[in-house]
Structures are given as structure tokens and as C-alpha cells.
Symmetry: C2
């Protein structure tokens, strides 16, 4: 299984955990990251030890990307704008950092004859009003966020490279991935708000939003497990946990873990945090389990664990 | 129903037929077309009569597009690279003329507060191995051509504009649309081949490819019928006919209609015409029919009709 792997977004939250796993099993790892949201410190130890070859390259720059693919056997394409809400204000970020970046990765792979790709897609491709839990064969998929549109576009581009140029692909539709080194998301936001003002916590929406949360270690273990146990030309799997956790519950957990028990929790109201947010989401993970994978953390455990580690990271 | 409508690709094959309908019912029609595959002659009569305001603008040029949206009430976004096979040789055409062009249309609409869009998507978004006939809720959709990827990306972008910016949308997944003014496709190709050499006809693949064909007049009637009879925020419909026609049968029809009965039909072999071609496709059109729409032409009738009109256009 030792191979030359390239991880896009490898200095990011999920990417850096994947890099940890690949290094520990002996893969030769190239990381490509523009450090727009990635944090070099996350992988500095691997760079210093010589286990990771780091390139600060922007995926939008096709010409700089191309030569990096020479000799690569497997691409893990995780780079993306991680801030879903941004699309409500700036409309071309997901197009450029998501869709066009994915095109550039695929085109570079084609030119260098790299044959395998794993792609981080998202549960948000299912859009609104999908059945819960949502199976992989749900349709039609009409995402409601610009981030979701870019993930769906990435899936389609990969499908077309598989069908037209003979690529082999693994597509993972992620639930909300949380844990150590998280750089965005609801838990991260709550901790920052309480750090700024321990007396109150503003919650976007009515707090009844309810989603599946998966711990990042579970997520990267699942990625590698699925790749090791499947071999179709295109393999598409939901990755998530067995249950959901409400935003109201997350607020209570973060208030408790920060020791801000006196904070008043204030809801901005409405069924969702922002236009394009999906209020309720839970993925069916039967197919993942049928491959023999066991999820360690349920959603609430993952939230509590994440709150504890992020409080350490943010509040010190 | 008189409104100010903008038709992208309005000088093209399907677009020009739609323009005919919109003009005849009294809409004020703007056509935007870069004439890369559109033919000005198709709408010259309407331009001369003042019924159509024509702008030779490339949708890739966002700044030139923006001002054209002022005062528009409805956008029919039909512009695209029409040559699916091109993606096997040039990989960025569908990204630019499809995905990025659609982004530019949506962004221009957002800036000008235009609220309604109809989009020409395609049956190829369903990818390979979909059940036949394929219903709209089939999933997962993994297109195998770069053209299909761009259509799926367009659907996702539209979904995200609906969910994030309050747009209302109609998405149409087209079967193979054929008829008068066709500028590409199997019938068009066969006639050109027989014009060049009436003694032989080369057919890509084994001829057993089998798809639904819809006559272009049926197609544009169906578009307007669905829009008039639906009012969800996002309305997605398959448009096709009731049956299929094989490539073998199309070859026989074209040979007969051209009077080239002596031509030897030569198959290149294989189950498909090219990498990324879908060998068999038939859309379920129950939902279209439930809206009270009646398809005039079955596939074989549409093929025979198209062969006759294109022979006139091509052979004179």
C-alpha cells in the first residue's frame, strides 16, 4: 500500500489528519495547499521530518499544478473554500476554489497519467427536503448553497473523467466533520463568541437545526477503509455518524465545556442559520457499514470531544 | 403573458425555435448569442421586423452581459457548446461555455434582480446504467461526458441561486432534440457523410445505440407548457418522446430519404460512438404528460421528419 500520494488542502483541517494517517502507514506524501485556510503548523512536523513534501501552490494556477502530478499514484482532493456561508456574499469563490480548482486537478492528472482520485464531496449536494437518513441514490440533487453547487460540479467533473478518460474515483459525501484543528463551523464559532463575551451566546436560527456530526479521525479512517475495500471505476459513499445533534444541544455543550454556565443563549430565529443553510441533515451510512467500518463517535460525543479540544486550541 | 424575455443561444438550433414561439405570442425578446454555433439567419426575419433585439455577446464576458439583463423578466438559458464529442479532445470548452457561462448568467440576473430562469439541461446528466425509462428522481447522477458534467454543474448553480438568492427556476432535461435547423448530431452527420460519398455510410459504434428523440417543435412547446403550468420555486422536468430509435434504424432512414439505397453501411464497432457517449437512453416523461402535454412525434417519426428537412437544408 505504500504509494506516492498527493493531498490537496493537505494543510487544512481534514487534510492534515489524512496526511497524518498516510505518513504513518508509509506513503510518500505531497501536500499542495495555498494556505488560504490551511495552517502550515498542522503538518510542520511531517515537513521537518522529511515525510511530507509541501508545495504552496494555488489550484487555480493550472500551470504551477501540472508538474506536481508527475509520478503521483493517488490524489486525495480535499482543497476547497471551507466557509459555506461565504457564498451568500461573494458568489465566485466556490466556482473558482471548488469547480475550477477541481477541473485543474483532473486536467493535471490526465496530462500526467495519474489514474486514481478520492474527492471530498458533501451532504449538502442532496439539497433540501431529502429523506432522512439520506441514501446515496437520492435524486434529484439540487444543492441550495453555492458551496454545494461546487461540490456537485466536482462530482460531475470526476464522473466525466472516469467515463471519458478512464480515471478511477472515490467520491465521499461528508456529513459535518468536526474535531481537533477545526477552523470553522458552529462549535468553532460558539467558542469564539464566548471567548469574546462569556455572558451571552448568539445562535443563528432557532437552534432546532439538527445534523449529523462525524469526528475527523473517524472520517479519515473511513476514507482509507472504503478505498481499501472497493474497486469499482467510481465508488460513491456517504460518510457520517449514526445520529444527529441539534444546534440547541451544541450550544448547551459548548456553554458547559467552556464553564460559561451563566451565559444567556439568544436565538436570532428562523429555521436556518442563513440562506442556503440546510436545517436538518442526516446521511444513511448503511453502505459504509456494509464494508465493515465502525464509526467510533456518535454525533453528540463528537461534539463534546470537539468542544473540549477546540477550547484548548482557542482559549489556550 | 407578454413579457421581456432574454434567450441565450437564441440564434441556435433549439433557441431559434423558442424565439419563434415567444415572438408569435407577443413577448419582447432579447437574443444573446456569440454565433459560435448559432446562425444569425435563423432569426434574421425577427431582427428585421423589430421583434427581436439581437446582441452578439459571449456569455464568458460577464461585463458585457450584465447590462443586458436590466428589465428582463425571464431568462431562457439555452446557450452551450452543442458538440458532446468535443470534450474527448478539448477539456475546457464545456467548463467555460457551460459552467462558467451559466454562472455569469446567474450572477447577471442577481445583480439586475431578474427572478426567473428556464435552463436547458440534458438526459446525459443521468450518466450510465440508469434505469430505462429514467425518472427525474434517479440518483446518483454521475455524467460520463464533459458536456454532461457542465449541464449538471449548471443545474447545481441554479439550485444554489434558488436556495440562496430567491430565484425561481425551471430545469429541463432534454432527450436528443432533433429537427429543422439542426446543426449537429447523428442525422446531421449521416447526411453530410452521404453527401460527400453516396456509396458508403460509416456509423460510429455497432449501431445498437438506442435513444429517445424529440422533435424540436415538441421540445419548445413542452418548455412553454411546463412553465405555464407549474409554479414551484424549482421545477425539474424530463422532456422526451414515448419511445426510442436505434442508430441502425436512423442509418436506414437517412439512406432511404437521401435516395442512397445502394450505400454500404459500415460500423466501426463497439457499444458506443465515442468515450463518454451513453449507448442507451430513454427518459420517463410521466410528469410532463401529467401536466396535460401531448408529444406529437414519436422517435422514429421525429427522425424521419428531421432527415427530410435536413436533407433539404444540406443537400438543397
Amino acid at each position: 500500500m505504500f504509494m506516492r500520494a498527493l493531498v490537496t488542502g493537505g494543510a487544512g483541517f481534514i487534510g492534515s489528519h489524512l496526511v497524518d494517517r498516510l505518513v504513518s502507514r508509509g506513503d510518500e506524501v505531497l501536500v499542495v495547499d495555498n494556505l488560504s485556510s490551511g495552517v502550515l503548523e498542522f503538518i510542520q512536523g511531517h515537513i521537518d521530518s522529511g515525510a511530507v513534501d509541501f508545495h504552496q501552490v494555488d489550484l487555480k494556477d493550472l500551470e504551477s499544478l501540472k508538474p506536481l502530478l508527475n509520478g503521483v499514484e493517488m490524489v486525495y482532493h480535499l482543497a476547497a473554500n471551507p466557509d459555506i456561508r461565504l457564498g451568500t456574499r461573494i458568489t465566485d469563490t466556490d466556482l473558482k476554489e471548488g469547480t475550477i480548482a477541481t477541473y485543474n486537478v483532473l486536467e493535471s492528472m490526465r496530462l500526467a497519467n495519474v489514474e486514481k482520485i478520492a474527492f471530498a464531496s458533501s451532504s449538502v449536494v442532496y439539497g433540501e427536503n431529502a429523506p432522512m437518513p439520506t441514501p446515496e441514490n437520492h435524486g434529484p440533487c439540487l444543492p441550495i448553497s453555492l458551496y454545494g453547487a461546487s461540490k456537485q460540479a466536482g462530482e460531475g467533473l470526476i464522473g466525466s473523467w472516469v467515463g471519458t478518460f478512464g480515471l478511477q474515483a472515490w467520491i465521499f459525501r461528508f456529513a459535518n466533520i468536526i474535531g481537533e484543528r477545526g477552523t470553522h463551523g458552529v462549535i468553532f464559532d460558539f467558542i469564539h463568541k464566548l471567548k469574546a463575551d462569556p455572558s451571552r451566546l448568539e445562535v443563528l436560527g432557532n437552534g432546532l437545526q439538527e445534523k449529523s456530526y462525524m469526528e475527523v479521525g473517524d472520517c479519515v479512517d473511513a476514507i482509507l477503509h472504503v478505498i481499501d475495500n472497493t474497486d469499482e471505476r467510481i465508488n460513491l459513499y456517504n460518510l457520517g455518524s449514526n445520529d444527529t445533534c441539534s444546534v440547541r444541544n451544541i450550544a448547551a455543550i459548548v456553554v458547559r465545556e467552556t464553564g460559561c454556565e451563566g451565559a444567556s443563549i439568544e436565538y436570532t430565529g428562523g429555521d436556518r442559520g442563513w440562506a442556503g443553510d440546510i436545517p436538518k441533515a442526516m446521511l444513511a451510512i448503511n453502505r459504509l457499514k456494509e464494508l465493515g467500518f465502525k464509526v467510533n463517535y456518535d454525533s453528540e460525543e463528537a461534539v463534546a470531544h470537539t468542544a473540549r479540544v477546540l477550547i484548548q486550541e482557542i482559549m489556550g
